[in-house]
Symmetry: none
Subunit: 214 residues, 4 copies
DNA sequence: TATGAATGAGCTTTCATTCAT
DNA sequence: CATGAATGAAAGCTCATTCAT
């Protein structure tokens, strides 16, 4: 009968949606062009607004980028942290769940472009690199590490050193991401089936973590 | 008779060496900053010449970059092609030789930065991407493929499909390269030993290619 | 009957007071930042309204500034003109009264900032300078001049040339104003006592204007 | 016979003169428009060069302004410091000399516009205000103060407190400057004859500083 | 009346490229 | 060959002004 039960006038609904539209446009451009090469005017154009409008919502280019990361990757990490904290089952199941989700939400989507971008341009923008390390790398690896600790504490994993084991789990996913992002459009090299690779990698790793039978 | 002995006066040798100095400086900057962020003024400064001088030797930034690639990676590929053509022994030995050389000459040196750069910025510079695909990717994988074909023809390898097998051999080296190039600050990477990894990978692959005993 | 007693509901009184609030906020900002550097957004914020509201009351920045001047300095000048016209006593008393009032109402208050502002930025905004000269400078010196004429006509002042004498009376007050407005950081100004200075200046000047005893 | 004994090619002479041309153009614009309202494009245009050229010689607008001040006012102050140190005669003569020179070199010339500018806009550009206080205000008043100290030490001045006396000498000159700069083009108020005023002020002040006869 | 989102001209700054010497 | 001064087309950011609600 009536439109979505949003009582606000269309105009105000637009206002609320605006930041999301801008962030979506910015994500597109950042992923497509990289950080430095993205022109704010293009972001605005893609969002259907003028250059100045961007500045109503974001202080500057850097803050726009941070907002994009916060609204996407950091969000996903937050959920992962929460779910990891709430999880009741076996740590191996939790680990598999987390790694797969990481892949599905961050690597098999446009978000992967952000990771690639930081890899490529982080050096040129130290403030951005710092932010990304704090909000994404540190927290992301933190979740994996915490599951290792949990598993060891509960006797579900062997007593490996979590600081050594964490990157062993993280690295292959990162590499797969880079690979599938393909470093050039025309270079159709990747022969790897990501899901097969991931599945094999996870299964193998978790088997390696399993407590040996007495 | 005797090895190249330069009879020219020093300043003239300097003149001839000029392009090499420029290319070396350019390589440094491209690897350090990336393509877009490299300023020609910095390249000139590092080479100890003026900005204008660069344009005496290279039409523009793009041609400078291409020249860097031609003078380094393409050179190495050319030698590999030649050596592969000249090689008389067992194809497995040749393959091992080529993969190791690739690593030692292109991946364990600053040249690896070029690969990373193309991965990161190739999308923004289509003309560059095209050039790189033609001159590096295509020819590089071509050598590997040709050795596969040779091995199969000579009955030294199993009759695998070369088009499928080539990337299987290329991908792990690329991954290792990206891994070791990954210097995202604070993101501690696991302590992979490149040579151990490479050796294991090559040995395993060649064993897999070996013709099964009848 | 009785003094102005406002029968309107409070919100409506608020409505009527709005322009005054806006002018007060604008005065604050203009004095604090100067004309060019004052952002209308800040004026609005200080007045607790939206930027757009400003434009309901004032056509543009320039008109806002004019309104500030009209509502303050011009107002004071108008009263001075009126009082001078109504005054019945000795012209020396009137002159003292006017000069002191000028100081107390325009120079020892935030309004002095407007004078400083016109001094500093008038050149950049010819239309503003023109307005200020017409409405403030011309009328202000006009009052002084008219009192001189009156005093001479009534035989209370010596027959000086009013066009020469007027700036002689105006300049010292202006100087004192600039002096006290001088707030260039760290540039310690001498501790002039404005009232002592003014009193001495006025007394001396009026003595000089007195008709010499026959 | 031959042009000025500058052996450099015309082109190079131009290069040497360039900074001075830019500074002159910048001085003009800063004095005419103020700091904030001066557009670098206009400075360039007035100097007959392009916008970018300015940046070959000056890091940014702020440094351009500082360079203008250094090349003019600070220069004059340096000479004053030197002359004061070298002077052998009576301190009263030195003081008169310095105050007159200050007027003739800094106040009766376009340089006065810089002082006016700092007075007007210093608040909006703290970094500039800081620089100006360090390089101009502090050093300028320092010279005056040092002469006071010298005179007292040599028994040529009464034993006044130099920290109190310095601004008493500085302030009237500053005020005269502001006055003669006239705060608006159309406002032809100043009736003061600067030289008469100055002369009277200096003579009076120095008389006041004279050691009373025993 | 009042709002505040939206606009776009304008300013500072950067850098690949040109060219007179 | 070599120089380096000069150019000018962007790009990031600001703010007076407009207008749909």
């Amino acid at each position: 009968m009536h439109p979505p039960q949003d009582n606000k006038p269309r105009w105000e609904r637009r206002k609320d949606a605006r930041p999301q539209e801008l962030l979506a446009a910015a994500l597109d451009q950042f992923v497509e062009r990289g950080y430095a090469a993205t022109r704010l005017e293009d972001v605005a154009k893609r969002a259907g607004v003028s250059k100045g409008t961007l500045y109503l919502y974001f202080t500057n280019k850097e803050e726009l980028f941070k907002a994009v990361v916060r609204g996407t990757i950091v969000e996903v990490i937050g959920e992962a942290e929460q779910d990891a904290a709430d999880f009741a089952g076996h740590s191996a199941d939790l680990m598999r769940e987390l790694l797969l989700r990481w892949w599905n939400q961050c690597c098999a989507t446009p978000l992967a472009g952000i990771t690639k971008l930081m890899f490529a341009e982080g050096n040129n923008f130290p403030e951005l690199a710092h932010f990304y390390n704090e909000e994404v790398v540190a927290r992301g690896t933190g979740v994996i590490r915490s599951v290792l600790v949990r598993g060891i504490a509960r006797g579900e994993f062997r007593a490996v050193d979590p600081d050594v084991m964490t990157p062993v789990l993280v690295a292959p996913v990162m590499m797969l991401l880079m690979w599938t992002q393909s470093y050039m459009p025309a270079c159709e090299m990747p022969p790897v089936d990501p899901h097969a690779y991931l599945d094999l990698f996870i299964t193998t790793s978790l088997a390696g973590l399993a407590v040996p039978a007495p």
